[in-house]
């Protein structure tokens, strides 16, 4: 029930719509659920709607933490 993909907002359109881009595929979606969204932000798209604005800093941080915590060659901790 959770199929949703990240997309970048390229243009805000009238009437609570936006155009988003997924690596070259463009789609028009509704922004009713993310009234504060701005161009350039990433959103999660589900069933034709943006479900939330993504936190890019958190995305970077998560990857960084994972890379560090599970660096190769470290002794696994109990």
């Amino acid at each position: 029930m959770c199929l949703a993909v990240p997309a970048r907002v390229v243009e805000l359109l009238p009437d609570r719509r936006a155009r988003v881009d997924l690596d070259g595929v463009q789609l028009e979606i509704r922004t009713d659920l993310v009234p504060e969204v701005r161009t350039g932000q990433y959103v999660i798209v589900h069933a034709g709607f943006a479900l939330t604005v993504m936190d890019e800093e958190e995305a970077e941080e998560t990857l960084r933490l994972l890379e560090e915590a599970y660096a190769p060659g470290e002794l696994p901790q109990p």
Binding site: M1, C2, L33, Y70
Partner: protein, 363 residues
């Protein structure tokens, strides 16, 4: 924001190694339940089980909206399509599920107008395109999808659209978790919580799970690295004898969820008792239309003759959906019940536990 970073084979390997260590430390079988059909699919698609140690059992819970739609509700959807001159719009997920008198797909083959779509907005467009035809949207889904359906109805309301209605069959995840935990028979050591439902809900609605039942929870995304990270965090909670609701999927989920989405939901829908396939009636687990939106209720607009539901002998979907049995335990599995000739919902939906097991193989 490259999805591919969350599919890194290197990171996956390292996380799997950490899981192996933690699982070994635990020294017993660990049962982890995911309650999202998309998790079932993702785990199966990337062959994740084959990377996990043998003592970790991944259970598939009642998180597939297709699997948990009651036979009677599905029969109503099919009956509306066949007994009224309407065009029915449905998510593809529901299209092939067999009801007592066939599926929506079979109804279409026999002449009913049924359209598959990936957005409720398709129903809005279909209604606008044919003002003289009634359009009925089959509203299944959990808290991820319900706000989209609510927004669609709000739009229809604003436009004064008279030829659109919705069969309101959405369900809520937290009451289902409670039902599984109080059902008692299956021991569940941890929950992988649905990432996108949690985008809407945040962490608060799940707080009772660790608080009342002592079971750890991690809100998890859907890429392989996300799922492995979720598993690591669950195992680390167990190892540290802690139980809390943690967020692994931090790029999308905040503790407070999406208040705008919840506000929209509250305007259009209110919780009601709902019948779940194989789980029975769970209080306050479904969504019914609020008084302002009752005019959009397809069940009221289109009375139908419903067939007597035919109980399926031997079908173990109920036990499977609650983690008390595995697909292979069911006497019908792979024999009378296959993806081509499904008996129960767990086999019908490609994200059902039995279908995933059959299609993608179990470890």
């Amino acid at each position: 924001m490259r999805l591919e970073s969350y599919r890194s084979p290197e990171l996956s390997r390292r996380l799997a190694a950490r899981i192996a260590v933690l699982a070994r430390e635990a020294g017993r079988e660990i049962a982890i339940m995911e309650v999202c059909g998309t998790h079932t699919m993702s785990i199966a698609r990337c062959g994740l089980r084959s990377l996990l140690p043998a003592n970790i059992r991944l259970l598939s819970g009642p998180g597939c909206p297709v699997c948990v739609t009651a036979q009677r509700d599905l029969d109503r959807a099919v009956a509306i399509a066949t007994q009224h001159p309407v065009q029915v719009v449905t998510f593809g997920d529901l299209f092939r599920v067999p009801g007592t008198q066939g599926s929506l797909e079979q109804a279409k083959a026999a002449g009913a107008r049924v359209i598959t779509a990936y957005s409720p907005l398709a129903a809005l467009e279909a209604a606008r395109a044919e003002p003289a035809t009634q359009t009925v949207f089959i509203g299944i889904g959990f808290e991820t999808t319900a706000p989209a359906i609510a927004a669609t109805l709000q739009r229809a309301h604003t436009e004064g659209l008279e030829n659109l209605s919705v069969l309101s069959l959405c369900k809520l995840v937290p009451p289902a978790l409670r039902a599984i935990l109080t059902g008692g028979q299956a021991r569940i050591d941890g929950f992988l919580l649905p990432g996108h439902v949690s985008v809407v809900l945040g962490t608060q609605p799940y707080a009772f799970v660790p608080a009342e039942f002592g079971v750890p929870c991690v809100i998890t995304g859907f890429e392989p690295v996300d799922i492995l990270q979720g598993l690591v965090m669950l195992l680390e909670q167990m190892h540290g004898r802690r139980a809390a609701v943690e967020i692994a999927y931090r790029r999308a989920v905040s503790p407070d969820g999406n208040p705008s989405a919840r506000a929209l939901l509250a305007e259009v829908f209110a919780p009601c008792d709902a019948e779940w396939r194989a789980l029975g009636t769970i209080p306050a687990s479904g969504l019914a239309l609020t008084p302002a939106y009752t005019l959009f209720d397809a069940a009221r607009r289109f009375p139908v003759d419903l067939p007597e539901p035919a109980p399926q002998k031997g079908c173990m979907c109920g036990e499977i959906l609650t983690g008390r049995a595995a697909p292979a335990d069911c006497p019908l599995f792979g024999k009378t019940c296959t993806p081509e000739t499904p008996v129960g919902p767990c086999m019908v939906s490609s994200e059902g536990a039995c279908a995933a097991h059959y299609l993608y193989g179990a470890r």
